[in-house]
């Protein structure tokens, strides 16, 4: 047996915008074991339920993450709505769905850009982010914010998106879809890209299930599990089949995410065609009492929201389990046996979001 050594990776590392630390136990150039440690940016957002009432808490939930901000607001609102037995009007559900898919598109394109940056393909990175910018502009037109949207509220949404605006978005998405096809081709067919992604970081179906992975990371290993198929919000009324791949390497993860972007375009098209007219919110009376656990599919995977209320203005306990937290166990498994040079790429392929993990 050759000599073992430990190489620290992170918390500051060029591919990581956020701090996570990995102790890589190496044997020559191969990783034998990876020991993650987190906790560098804990903000204690969950504890703020003591200070902010249950309506104001939506703003705090949104600030858990900058990329999935919409999803966090949505998940929290859904949990409280279930506790209070509020039925959200149909139009609000459709708009929530459309916005969720828009955030999926921008999150996945952001990830594609980071991936390209990770393997040093700068022009592909810039091109991806140029496309993503258009989604952010649409978000700003619809909600007034580019990162923090403040459009969710308990009982519906704050602002309606008119049908004209939706039709305009549809046109822009159609154009974007065309442009994205070129980029997707480069990601999936380019020789240089393939040499970095193919046959590294395998995770088998069994391992992915056992380690409780979620999101595109899980689906790339052949498990067809997508929380959207439980039909929350308007997903139940849309035609939708989870994207997945049987291979389970980095390439499969890229492929699944690219397929999901195109699927999101399709879901938006369906939702815009079906959206009913009507109210966008219902008045909220009284205070929540009871507990509820809800799951939604964030761009990065399944996020769990737990709310326990005691009938007063302030909620007793709010708990968020984010997708990256679930995927960290899978990450340590994929790192076993890979080359040191591949570690940054493999860390990227779970689409890590450490800020939300630590909240």
């Amino acid at each position: 047996m050759s000599k073992r050594s430990v190489i620290p990776f992170g918390p500051q590392h060029p591919v990581l915008p956020e701090p996570i630390h990995l102790d890589l136990v190496m044997e020559d150039e191969k990783v034998v074991e990876a020991i993650p440690s987190i906790g560098f940016i804990h903000r204690g957002l969950e504890k703020l339920v003591d200070k902010k009432d249950f309506n104001e808490m939506v703003y705090v939930a949104e600030r858990i993450c900058g990329i999935c901000s919409l999803g966090h607001g949505l998940g929290y609102s859904e949990a409280v709505e279930h506790v209070m037995d509020i039925e959200v009007p149909s139009r609000a559900k459709y708009i929530r769905t459309i916005l969720s898919e828009m955030s999926r598109i921008h999150s996945h394109i952001l990830w594609l850009g980071l991936l390209a940056d990770g393997f040093g393909f700068e022009s592909l990175y810039m091109e991806s982010w140029r496309l993503r910018e258009q989604v952010l502009d649409m978000f700003e037109e619809a909600t007034g914010g580019r990162v923090i949207f403040s459009i969710m509220k308990i009982g519906g949404i704050r602002k309606d998106i008119s049908n004209e605006m939706l039709a305009d978005f549809q046109k822009r998405f159609d154009k974007m879809e065309e442009e994205l096809k070129d980029i997707a081709k480069t990601f999936l067919d380019d020789v240089a890209v393939q040499s970095r992604l193919r046959d590294v970081g395998f995770l088998t179906k069994q391992q992915a299930e056992d380690l409780g992975c979620c999101g595109p990371f899980l689906r790339a290993s052949g498990v067809k599990r997508d929380i959207r198929s439980t039909g929350y919000e308007a997903y139940g009324e849309l035609d939708f089949e989870p994207c997945y791949s049987e291979i389970g390497d980095s390439y499969a993860r890229t492929e699944v995410r690219i397929k999901e972007i195109f699927q999101a375009f399709d879901l938006i098209r369906q939702a815009i065609a079906k959206i009913p007219a009507g109210e966008i919110d219902v008045p909220v009376k009284g205070f929540p009492n009871g507990e509820y656990l809800t799951r939604i599919e964030q761009p990065r995977g399944e996020a769990v929201y737990f709310v326990k209320a005691n009938g007063s203005k302030f909620i007793d306990r709010m708990r968020v389990r984010t997708p990256t937290f679930a995927n960290l166990a899978g990450l340590t498994e994929t790192l076993k046996g890979c080359d040191l040079a591949d570690v940054p790429m493999l860390v990227l392929t779970i689409d890590p979001c450490i800020s939300c993990t630590e909240r």
Binding site: E140, S150, D182, T186, D189, V193
Partner: protein, 155 residues
């Protein structure tokens, strides 16, 4: 081949104009809904204090005695709660973002003469209405009932 495929995009980007704005020379046109910063029309504000109660970050302070309305822009999270809840609709969300600065400031605005006069006129009218209503009630009930207590002005 795939490399050639992306070369097309690169060449296209090389000859087309930049995707970014030449910032200091070209200012951004914000969409209508952009939440930049909160503005208050002090000609209309009646200092009711509802905005400060509704603000999740307690960024607004209303001082009724000094007749001032102040906001700490660094605390404001641009959530639009105050704007949506203002009964006089004097608050608005301006599209332009707050200018950067070297220190945290508190912006204080005084209620204008116009607003004070309007508010006093309203109060007076409300008082008169209440007195008239009380007198009418007393007259209707006859002399048997003692004078009805003066109702609180509703404004």
């Amino acid at each position: 081949m795939a490399i050639i495929n992306f070369n097309k995009t690169v060449l296209h980007n090389l000859i087309s104009k930049p995707a970014t704005r030449l910032y200091p020379f070209e200012e951004r046109v914000y969409p209508e809904r952009t939440r930049g910063h909160v503005e208050n029309d002090m000609d209309v504000c009646v200092l009711c204090g509802l905005c400060s109660i509704k603000c999740p970050t307690h960024a607004i302070t209303v001082d009724k005695a000094a007749k001032t309305w102040s906001i700490r822009p660094m605390s404001c999270i641009q959530c639009r709660c105050c704007v949506d809840n203002c009964p006089k609709k004097c608050l608005s969300m301006a599209q332009k973002f707050q200018e950067p600065g070297p220190e945290k400031v508190t912006k204080t605005f005084h209620q204008t003469e116009k607003a004070i006069a309007a508010q006093e006129a309203l109060m007076k009218a409300a008082k008169e209405r209440a007195a008239a209503a009380a007198a009418a009630k007393a007259a209707a009930a006859g002399t048997a009932t003692p004078a009805a207590p003066v109702q609180k002005p509703t404004e």
